[in-house]
């Protein structure tokens, strides 16, 4: 392909070729891993500014605008602040576990980037079971959240941690089920193959899975579950500031808090990256005349669009209460995800044409209406009656 598309791959091959032959495997591995370790934290820094400015504008105020032009150097100021703050550990806290929890969370947050295809031929580890690897590593992060909450010896911290773990476990099920439809359609668990199956255009429309009925519903379910998995608003009850004063990170100050923050945002980017790979066609271009733009620019463009979506939702929707959250996961999203799996299967086996669109859309819409009515019937809101003094 064009040199601008493969510029990083060619650069890496050249650098590996320049190094002595004994060190070549090590240099190759380093050159694959170090860019991931550099790029995504820089993206995190940019996202913090974007988020604060964006939330500020949604709330009709300026965001940070003192440090640097339009507040762009705010992350630097935040980094200096968090490094120089006093690191307070409660006297009765479990020091070893308290110290290890942010480290484990950060390590587990970086590992899933190995299976995300950032561009054509740009993937750190082309595993046969890439999607399964991603979910397996994501499941480990629940344990570190629990470690953080329990080791602080604080009732509210423990309560926040238990709520967060319950939320993460509940939303893992719709997350996995909504990606099963994609795995069925692509016939493989390898992320590279899933992206390649979405190549090609019919007329002007790409063959991305999000542009099929089951893919569209699946994408929405995936994004809602992703918001809940990373404890992002409107699902941030475990860490809400007005509810439980930062939940499981109450007792963390200074740099450890910054590490938790970094791990949360990295998790958000990773899961958005997986959503892009599964549903939005990875590094593929959306229109046939735009394929000259390099593949990695498309990936990061889509990632930024999803991040902007997350910020927008954060500024718009109110927080969900714990029981509303759990009801939503088990009573609405799980049945809907199962319906998406059935619809994906039906789509695969019906012949191409208008019938398969109509059947899928009718099935999904019917399931949605029935489920929504079923969930809504629990809160019977009666007409308000007033009782006046006689």
């Amino acid at each position: 392909m064009q040199p601008s598309d493969q510029v990083f791959v060619l650069l890496k091959h050249w650098l590996v070729g320049q190094s002595p032959s004994m060190l070549q495997p090590a240099v190759s591995i380093l050159l694959t891993i170090v860019p991931i370790l550099l790029i995504f934290p820089v993206l995190f820094a940019l996202t913090t500014v974007l988020e604060r400015k964006g939330l500020g504008r949604i709330q009709n105020r300026y965001g940070p605008n003192r440090v640097g032009f339009f507040g762009i150097l705010q992350p630097m100021a935040d980094a200096v602040k968090s490094l120089t703050k006093e690191d307070i550990v409660p006297a009765s806290a479990d020091r070893a576990v308290h110290f290890l929890a942010p480290l484990v969370l950060l390590a587990v947050a970086f590992v899933p980037y190995a299976v995300l295809p950032i561009g054509r031929n740009m993937i750190a580890a082309n595993l046969d079971a890439g999607v399964l690897f991603f979910f397996a590593i994501g499941a480990i992060s629940e344990l570190s959240v629990f470690m953080a909450g329990w080791s602080s010896r604080n009732k509210y911290s423990l309560l926040g941690a238990l709520r967060a773990v319950a939320q993460m476990i509940s939303y893992e099920v719709p997350l996995l089920l909504s990606s099963i439809g994609v795995i069925m359609a692509a016939g493989s668990l390898s992320t590279v193959e899933i992206v390649e199956k979405q190549a090609g255009f019919t007329g002007i429309f790409p063959h991305w899975y999000v542009l099929t009925p089951w893919g569209f519903v699946g994408f929405i379910l995936f994004m809602i579950a992703a918001t809940a998995e990373t404890n992002r608003s409107p699902f941030d009850l475990p860490e809400g500031e007005s509810e439980i004063i930062a939940g499981y990170y109450i007792e963390y100050s200074g740099f450890k808090f910054a590490l938790f923050f970094l791990a949360e945002y990295l998790g958000m980017f990773a899961i958005s990256g997986l959503g892009i790979t599964l549903f939005l066609g990875g590094w593929l271009a959306p229109l046939p005349f735009l394929t000259w733009i390099p593949s990695w620019i498309w990936f990061f463009g889509k990632l930024l669009a999803i991040v902007v979506g997350f910020i927008w939702v954060r500024g718009t929707l109110p927080r969900l209460r714990m029981d509303q959250l759990m009801n939503f996961a088990w009573k609405f999203m799980l049945p809907m995800a199962l319906v998406v799996v059935v619809a994906a299967g039906a789509w695969r086996f019906l012949p191409q044409g208008v019938t398969r669109w109509l059947i899928s859309i009718a099935f999904l819409a019917g399931a949605y209406v029935l489920l929504a009515r079923g969930v809504e019937s629990r809160n019977k809101i009666a007409k308000r009656t007033y009782r006046f003094a006689e």
Binding site: D94, L132, A139, E142, L143, F146, W150
Partner: protein, 167 residues
């Protein structure tokens, strides 16, 4: 018998040792989670991708969390109280060693007499996840359905046990 194997084996054994000897109960549970992760990594080292990742997903992601929740829900605040001291139950370490030696002997006999050892040149399966899926749908569909039924029964049982009684 390569370097990664030794490192992973050391991590797994350290986790298992910690699960036995650490004082706090939650520390033991976390050490057990490290042992599970070590076993998952050993499966990956042997090339069993699906098994290793399923081990990580199920054991570390679900079973370890389950163990920790159970500790908290049953012992609550005194999850860190010191457990029974070994001196008051003197025969237990010896009985434990005897049982461990017996299990090791049986496992060793089973492994050395199994077909994998008798024919050392086994071809590496290429796309083992696809083969696993085909086998589940083809030859082993009845066990799959039976397991599904059992899991449904467990789920319904859990909901029934946790449901509030109607007053």
């Amino acid at each position: 018998m390569s370097t990664p194997f030794f490192i992973l084996a050391a991590v797994t054994l350290a986790g298992a040792w910690g699960a036995m000897t650490l004082r706090g109960l939650v520390h033991c549970a976390l050490a057990l989670a490290v042992a599970f992760a070590g076993i998952g990594a050993l499966y990956l080292n042997l090339g069993a991708q699906f098994l290793g990742l399923a081990q990580l997903l199920v054991y570390v992601g679900a079973v370890a969390v389950l163990i920790v929740f159970v500790i908290l829900l049953t012992r609550g605040g005194d999850a860190d109280a010191p457990r029974l001291s070994a001196a008051s139950f003197a025969p237990w370490p010896l009985a434990g060693l005897a049982v461990a030696a017996a299990v090791f002997a049986v496992l060793g006999w089973a492994i050395f007499h199994s077909s994998a050892m008798l024919s050392p040149t086994a071809a590496a399966p290429q796309n083992n996840i696809r083969q696993l899926g085909v086998a589940l749908m083809d030859a082993y569909v009845l066990p799959l359905e039976a397991i599904g039924l059992m899991l449904t029964a467990a789920l319904i049982g859990a909901v029934v046990v946790a449901m509030k009684e109607k007053p």
